[in-house]
Assembly symmetry: C2
Amino acid sequence: MTSNTVTAFAPASVGNVAVGFDILGHALSVIGDHVTATRSATTGVRIIEITGELPREPALNTAGRAVQSLLAGRTLAWGVELAIRKGIPLGSGLGGSAASAVAAVVAANELLDEPLPRSALLTHAIEGEAVASGSRHADNVAASLFGGLVLTIGEDPPRCMLIPVPSSIRCVLVHPRLFISTREARGMLRDVVALDDLVRQSANLAGFLAGCYTNNVELIRGCLEDLVIEPQRARLIPGFAAVKRAAIAAKALGCSISGAGPSVFAWCDGQDAEAARVAMSAVFRTQGLECDSWIAPIGGNGAMITERR
Amino acid sequence: MTSNTVTAFAPASVGNVAVGFDILGHALSVIGDHVTATRSATTGVRIIEITGELPREPALNTAGRAVQSLLAGRTLAWGVELAIRKGIPLGSGLGGSAASAVAAVVAANELLDEPLPRSALLTHAIEGEAVASGSRHADNVAASLFGGLVLTIGEDPPRCMLIPVPSSIRCVLVHPRLFISTREARGMLRDVVALDDLVRQSANLAGFLAGCYTNNVELIRGCLEDLVIEPQRARLIPGFAAVKRAAIAAKALGCSISGAGPSVFAWCDGQDAEAARVAMSAVFRTQGLECDSWIAPIGGNGAMITERR
């Protein structure tokens, strides 16, 4: 017995995680987007409700495009109507376009007579997210879909590995109320990297992963540093350097830009998180920027069904 | 009671291991160098015996320079004489200069009234190895000193992490009798890398490490590939592309250049190793190149004392 209306929640996510540009992401389960998918008499995909200034044309909307991809090649006597409720601020660097795509495919999948397994949804969510980001990287999509800290390797579709994270670690996320376009933030990156920087960044990535696998918080502290992308994007975020200094002074393990920004994240060991959150937010306010902020564990679920009718 | 004469063995090593340029290395315990250190009445370091065309001036010899570094700042009434027996072919890409430096400091350390712990020897061995390579990377030195697969992070001194490797994996090492200078092989590298290549190489590095930590041989197979350095150095090795194809056809998990080459290594799962060794060697012979070849587990000891008198 299939459902006629299904609602799914997909969490926000922190892309790149300082050391894994385009390959690492982790879910931030305290905020996310909800998408309700309903079987309709008309075939095809329609967007009937959406919060925020987002395209309503399905092919141009990450949720709509993702569901079009899911349904492609199927001969169905019915269509799908999507209602999208954004919980993630637009252009915040929190993987909002990925979360909408993920919630939409997770919900619409349940309308099928034979729903696909979760892992088979990844490629459709990536297809949707590419509408917004202009590239097929899967770091936000995979984290939102599966939860936790996820490594994505390759494309079409990528392999995904869940990386264990020491359970005491918390993510502090501070979102200054600015808008940054992912597409523009990608466009400003130099297309080459110094070989020396590749070596140092590779060492940070490898040490970070070794720290995660061996539950070595101090090794993570020594390695959670982006030498390649952050220096190029930091100037988009007023006060970034001071926010980062404040986080480190408050004992954060590391602090960098979430995805394309302007949100800034810090990983902290247990009780250190609240002090970092307060200190980081205070610096943004000295720049005249209001902030939202959250503290969340790195584990946690990925997307989930929240209602069926 | 300290010894007057100590001999140490230090194994050869595979530097870079395809995915970790300058940061990963693993010991190859089946071959290596022996260094005998003897207390002499004359202060300072002297090289009294050496095999092969290597500098006898201590400051220009990796073993001599490493022991000079070890002794620096100590006021000793005696000196150290070194006898160096090379088991590792010169310019083979098997970490010979590192092994001599490591064996020398491990042996000379035992002559001290209060020998240093093994980890404190790393910085002196690096100091010695830099004489030959012209750079202070520690991938070969750390693998030779500690054994196994070692990740080195940072400098002066680097942090070293021992990475677990699935126990079924064997390294096939084929050494064609050619000479390549590490210094020249470094000099030919472009000093920038495309950002896209950094992303794909980072994914390979991360997937390789995840495979090692989770005992996932097939993940290692999918990731043990060098997209950055190997394409630039392959032309130094006649027949390299065909050797690599032969290894992969013989079910190797991956195949690349050991350090700066010309030695080529392949990782294989258990019994596949012998077929890969035969196939790779056969291709080099079609190029008119005689080969030495070995099969060894990745684990195994690092440097060790073999004799005391």
